[in-house]
C-alpha cells in the first residue's frame, strides 16, 4: 500500500536531518514541499469554513509546517491550513465520511483509493477549472484525485556481490546468475507486474493482471526471498545488513542507498514500476470545495515540486519541473525523459477494482 510510501517520505527527511545531510530548515522546506502532504502529528484538527485540514502520514513538526507552507498559503488566500498526521487509510476516510461529521478536508491517499472511495460517494470530484490539467502528466489526472508526485519500484542491488550488474527484471528472478536472497514488497503493489514481466509478459499486455500466473511465479521463487519488506527503512536495512543481495524497493530509498554507500548499493530504472501519488478531497469537507481545490492548485508550482524532489527523491507531477532539476541530479528523477521510457506505470483503474482481493491472495502466497 502506497500509503506506506507517503509515510516514508517524512521518515527520510527526519533521518537525513538527523545525519546532518540536510539542515533543519531544509527538512521543514521538504515537509512544505510535500504539499500539504506533510503530516504533522496533530490530534484531530477540527476543520471549518476558512480553514483546511490536510491529512497525511505522521511526523512531529506541526509548527514548522505552518511556517513553511501553511503561512504562505494563508497569506495568499486568507485560508488557514492545519495538518494532521493520523494517516488517511481507506478505512479511516470511510469512517470520517460515514460518521457524518468529517473533520478532514484533503488527504494524501493513493489515487486508486480516492477513486474507489469516490465511486462510493465518499470523495468530492476534482474541480479541473481550478486545478490545472496542463500542470499534470498525460494520463495521471483522475476524477477524485489530482496527481502530486511519482515514485517507482526499482531493482536495487548490492554491486559488491555481482561481477556484472543486473539489467532487467528477469535478472532479479535469476538466482543462478545473480546469487543471494531477494526482497519484495509485502503489500503486493508493483510486485505482480514485476513477476509477470519476468515471466515474459510484454509491458503493453500487463493489464488486466494475470494474478494466477504472477502468484505462481512468486510462489516458485519464494525460497529465494529473504524477507518481504513492509516499510522503506526496512527495505534499506535489508540491503545494508546484507540480508539480501537484490530488492524491489522505492526509488527514493534506492537513491539514498546509492548516495550513502557511494554506489556499492545501487539501482537501475530498467523495468521499474511507477506509482503515482495523489491528493483527494473528502465529500462535504468542512473547509469547502473551492478552498480545497485552490490548495491543490497551489501544490502544482514547479519550483516547489523541485524542492520536494531534492529533499526526498520523488518525482514531480508537473512535467515543467523536470527541466528545473539540476543536471547532475536528473538521473535520480523517475519521470526524467531519460528514465521514464524504461519503466511501466501502475494502472490505477485496475487497482481500484482488484486491489483488495489481489492482496488477500498475495498474502496467502507469501505468508504460507
Amino acid at each position: 500500500m502506497n500509503t506506506h510510501f507517503q509515510n516514508d517520505l517524512v521518515e527520510i527527511l527526519k533521518e537525513r536531518a538527523a545525519k546532518g545531510q540536510i539542515s533543519r530548515r531544509q527538512m521543514l522546506q521538504g515537509f512544505a514541499a510535500l504539499m500539504g502532504t506533510t503530516a504533522l502529528g496533530a490530534g484531530a484538527a477540527k476543520a471549518e469554513e476558512g480553514r483546511l485540514v490536510f491529512v497525511n502520514w505522521g511526523g512531529d513538526a506541526l509548527d514548522a509546517m505552518d511556517e513553511a507552507f501553511g503561512t504562505p498559503f494563508t497569506e495568499e488566500t486568507g485560508i488557514e491550513v492545519l495538518y494532521d498526521g493520523s494517516g488517511p487509510t481507506e478505512g479511516a476516510i470511510t469512517a470520517q465520511v460515514q460518521g457524518g461529521n468529517p473533520t478532514w478536508d484533503l488527504v494524501d491517499a493513493d489515487p486508486f483509493s480516492s477513486q474507489a472511495l469516490g465511486r462510493k460517494g465518499l470523495m468530492t470530484p476534482i474541480d479541473y477549472d481550478i486545478v490545472d490539467k496542463a500542470k499534470q502528466r498525460e494520463g495521471f489526472g483522475w476524477e477524485y484525485s489530482s496527481s502530486c508526485y511519482f515514485y517507482s519500484y526499482v531493482i536495487a542491488y548490492d554491486a559488491t556481490r555481482f561481477d556484472e550488474p543486473p539489467t532487467s527484471i528477469a535478472d532479479f528472478f535469476d538466482t543462478e546468475k545473480f546469487p543471494g536472497k531477494r526482497s519484495m514488497y509485502k503489500w503486493g503493489a508493483g510486485m505482480w507486474e514485476a513477476a509477470l514481466l519476468a515471466d515474459g509478459v510484454a509491458p503493453e499486455d500487463l493489464y488486466p493482471l494475470d494474478l494466477e500466473r504472477a502468484h505462481a511465479k512468486i510462489d516458485g521463487f519464494k525460497e529465494h526471498i529473504g524477507a518481504f519488506w513492509g516499510g522503506g527503512a526496512e527495505s534499506q536495512s535489508l540491503l545494508l545488513n546484507g540480508d539480501v543481495s537484490m530488492a524491489l524497493i522505492w526509488n527514493t530509498r534506492a537513491s539514498l542507498l546509492h548516495k550513502d554507500t557511494e554506489g556499492e548499493i545501487t539501482f537501475t530504472w530498467q523495468d521499474g514500476i511507477i506509482g503515482p501519488g495523489g491528493i483527494g478531497v473528502l465529500k462535504d469537507n468542512p473547509g469547502g470545495t473551492e478552498a480545497a481545490m485552490r490548495y491543490i492548485a497551489a501544490t502544482q508550482e514547479p519550483e516547489r515540486q523541485v524542492v520536494l524532489f531534492q529533499m526526498l527523491g520523488n518525482a514531480p507531477s508537473n512535467p515543467a519541473a523536470d527541466a528545473l532539476i539540476p543536471e547532475d541530479e536528473r538521473r535520480f528523477n523517475a519521470m526524467d525523459p531519460e528514465n521514464l521510457p524504461k519503466q511501466i506505470a501502475l494502472d490505477t483503474d485496475w487497482y481500484e477494482e482488484n486491489y483488495g482481493a489481489a492482496l488477500d491472495a498475495y498474502l496467502q502466497i507469501i505468508s504460507a
Binding site: M1, T3, G87, T89, E90, G91, A92, T94, K181, K186, W187, I225, G226, A227, F228, W229, G230, E234, S237, N241, G242, D243, Y355, G356, L359, D360, A361, L363, Q364, I366, S367, A368
Partner: protein, 269 residues
Amino acid sequence: MRAFLFLICPVLLFLGVSYLLPFLGIVQLSFTDPDPGLAQYSRVLTEDLPTGVIWRTLRLCVMVTAVSVSCAYVITLLWVRGSPLVRSITELCIMIPFWISVLSRAFGWLSMLSNRGLLNTWLQDMGLIDSAIQMTRNEFAVVVGMSHYLIPFAVFPLATAMRNVDERVLTAADGMGASRLRIFWQVFLPMTSSGILGATLLVFVFSIGFYVTPALLGGGQSVLVAELIYLWIFQIPQWGMAAAMSVVLMLGVGGILYVLMRRYGEMAK
C-alpha cells in the same frame, strides 16, 4: 451488600458504555457488512488466508508460550531461591526489559541476529561458520522476539507460586533421602503447577494480540491475526471480515481463558 452494588454501579456503567456497546457494534457489523448474513463467518472459517493466519497464530503462540514459561521458570527459580547476589542480578534482568519499548526490542533483535549482525559476526570471526546463517525474518526470530517480551510477565505468577512452597516440605523430602533432582521433579514442580498454569494463561492470551514484533521480525512471511485485522480495517477495508475475525478471536480467547481459569481455580484451592 446493597451499598456495595450501588458503589460499583458507575464502574459497571462505564465498562458497559466503553466496552460492551462498542463490542456489540462489532458483533453487529460482523453479521451485516457488506450484506446481512453469516457470509463473513463462513469466509473467516473456510478461506485459505484467514484460516492459515489463525493456525499460524495458534502454532506460534503455543511455541512462544512454551519457550517463555520454561525460560521464566528457570529465571524465577534463580530470583526466588538464588544467593543474594544472583537475586539482585536476576531482578535487574527481569525489570530492565520492562522499561524498553516493544519496538526498540524488536530492532535490537534485528541488529543482533541479522546476517551482518552481532551474532553472525562473532561466529564468523571465531571461525565457527563460513557464511552467515539467516536468523531473522522468519518464525525463529518471531519466537525469540515475542518470548523475550513475554518472559517477565510469566515470572510474576511463577514467583508467587514458588514463594508459597512450604520450605518444610522440601526439608522433609530431603530428610527422607530424596535426591535434589527428585525433590525438584516430584515435590517442587508439582507444588508450583498453579503458577505454571497462571503464567501459561497470561503469556498465551497476551501473545495472540501481538502485532509489531511479528511484523518486524517475521519478514512479512508470518502474518498473524492482529495484522490481518488491521489490514481489513484500514488498508483494504472489509469491516465485516475484520469484525467477524475479531469475534472469532474473542470467543477463542474467552474459551481458552474459561477452561484454564476453572482448572486454575481448582488448583489454587
